[in-house]
Amino acid sequence: MFENLSFLSLQQYWWFLIAVLGALLVFLLFVQGGQTLIYKLGKTEIERTMLVNSLGRKWEITFTTLVTFGGAFFASFPLFYSTSFGGAYWVWMIILFAFILQAVSYEYRTKANNFLGTKTYETFLFINGAIGSIFLGTAVATFFTGSQFSVNKMNLVDLTSGNMPIISAWENPWHGLEAIWTTQNLAFMQNLSLGLAVFFLARVLALLYFMNNIDNEVIVNRAKIYLKRNALVFLVFFLFFVIRLMFINGFAYHADTHEVYMQAHKYFNNLIEMPLVLIIFLAGVVGVLYGIFINLFKNSNKGIWFSGAGTILTVLALFFLAGYNNTSYYPSTFDLQSSLTIENSSSSQYTLTVMSYVSLMIPFVAAYIWWAWKSMDKEAITEDEMQKDDHAY
């Protein structure tokens, strides 16, 4: 089946899968958003326990999606893995540290004799929630604004100069942190706006999720108040990012020569030239807004489904804009020709074919996750359940 696809089709298929995993990851960041709201929504110990346990039954899926996103990127576009992870060292290390802190905090938070104390683990959860979402959003924004790196495969065979035989080199000493202060083309504004948009979106999704998952009037009422504020701030950052994205020059490449060049309004052109992506994007934005609207004004608790699906569609569309239609998805502002495209950074045709067969398992995985969540969320979390559950966090 996959053997009959062209190399380019396989590269496009794998960019689609990366986009799906990225989109699911952003949706699942509601766990991170929720972790930044524990003290805002939970004023008593039992309220906080309900909030933590509501998130605690989902955190591992977010974590696993991040791991799989990394693994899939490695398998399908190894030059990105090599260039971005080895280059933007500090950005990825900070994200990783945030995730170490998260993994133990749920399990250890209320255990007796836990060495660091409940407050410390709750602080860890907050740090993971804030840093995890802001840094991931900022890192993805560089897909549109570029980074300073060079790629030269001939370095591998340079034995005489005594230099490191490194294929990908980061060309500034900040190793990725410069994304938040690079003034060239006002990249920092673009990067930070997406980072903050993801952060506030994660909080919006968390609030919608709590309203659906926790049966407690006090928490739900508080969530409504915070939902209004966070949704507004999210919209400001998101609209700034999207509107500016439509006007900036983008990183295009010639399909035949693979030469990378700057094209005016590249991402706007991509939307127009790929009408299906435009539809997905608009449907996504409407979905996010509709979810917020019905929870705020229609007394519904189903908003998470609409906003969640909307988030997935919107992020999918952004990934498509970054990688399809002859666009460089990881551009270099240091050396334009070092920019990564889905064509010059992918694994071989054979590996992509093998991995495509593996990808057929994804619907099956999604099905059992769905079943597991349905079984666990049959009834909303209550105070009573928290007091009886012998493995409550």
């Binding site: 039954r57 990394g70 893995y81 280059g87 990783l96 836990n114 409940t118 995985v365 666990m376 012998d390």
Partner: protein
Amino acid sequence: MQQIDFSLVDWSRAQFALTAMYHWIFVPLTLGLSFILAIMESIYVKTGNPEWKKITKFWMNLFGINFAIGVATGIILEFEFGTNWSNYSWFVGDIFGAPLAIEGIMAFFMESTFIAIMFFGWNKVSKKAHLTATWLTAIGSNLSGLWILVANAWMQNPVGMEFNPDTARNEMHNFLDVLFNPVAMNKFLHTITSGYLLASIFVVGVSAWFLLKKREEQFAMKSIIVASVFGILAAVYTIFSGDESARVVAKHQPMKFASMEALYDGQQNAPLVAIGFFGHPKAETPNEQEFAFKFEIPNMLSYLAFLDANAFVPGIRDLVHGNQERGIISYKEKIAKGKKAIDALAAYKNAKKAKKEQDAADALKIFKENFEYFGYGYYFGKDPHMLLPNVKISFYAFHTMVLLGGFFLVLLMYIYFLARNNKLQDKKWLLWTALWTIPLVYLAQQAGWVVAEVGRQPWVIQDLMPNIAAVSQIDTYSVQITFFLFLVVFTALLIAEIKIMLTTVRKGPEITENSTKK
């Protein structure tokens, strides 16, 4: 472009070793305890006896405490291939990335989805659905191990691939060869069964403490019976797969094998040093030390390596300086061939750029003839002894692992025998031994990975890529900072884990059910 910085290589290695060693404190318990839980819960579902539910839940609590930190250290390892070994990620990403991605899709999702049902689903799903979730958590954890070990084994014995000079990387040609790599199968079975062994000794040791304290004796005896049977089977298989592993290493990584036994001069009818201690330094080879004491078993090393007591086992000096009689070429020759391969690749790329097809074809021919030693070329102009692993560490780690492995089998068999005959409670010395064997089994686990990873240095991919060509170009101080941050965070979390575990154990199974929550 920076010059090759050996301190960067060393710090990057140290960071990876630190993460891997911390990760391996937690993972073997997850691998083994998950199956022990599944067996215990199966007995509960089959018998309906609530005592077994209580037993399962107690060990499940300890499993949960351990699992979280294993996950935390695991994510770092995956991403460190990119952050600290970026050249490696490109050079072999076409092959190495696949098992990591499959691990995520096939195994890690299974584990992390069903673990939520295992912990929180006692009153939400049926008994059988819960038991299925527990089994799937165990299977998911072990499948996860399979893919990671396939990836690791490929580094030790790269198969199923071919170098593509146009993309300047190795590319997969046969996925099944990668999956069924003999090193991978052996490594997987040896590693997971050693994890089962660790978990069994953990359960037996903790249960022995309850017997010593004369608390929860029925719970402790039942736990001991299940764990000791599981542990004996695991120990037997660990020893068999370890024996097979020695032959695989002797064939594919002769330098690692020679280092494990500190065999400097190859010989026929080579004896096995069963126990040995180093003494004075010897000037012949850098870092060489004479044995101050050793106890040898005649012919055993030859037999262990090649199933032939007369077989010749090459020593470190044979491998470094070559041995014409035995057809072993020296490291100097390998370095020269490696350099030829690298230069030919450069010539090929230049000829291609200049569109000189004949020159490109000639260069490619030279490249292919010498590719087998590609990685050695990076040591051109350097002392070939830089290619030696740390013999002392390899030797001690190997012997610690083997001796302790034998001891664990004897201990578990004796404990099972006494437990079956209801005489275990009277043997206080044995109960104390079982308890204090817990740290020893962790030591054996660490020693096993030290043998595997120190012994193969400096190869990130055997013979094809040394660590000096694999490392990311980062400032050394950046890696030093992250190294110490990891050290502090991991150590703090380890202390937290041990404290929580000890408290949970002290409270015992009855109280555990209602005390973990505030």
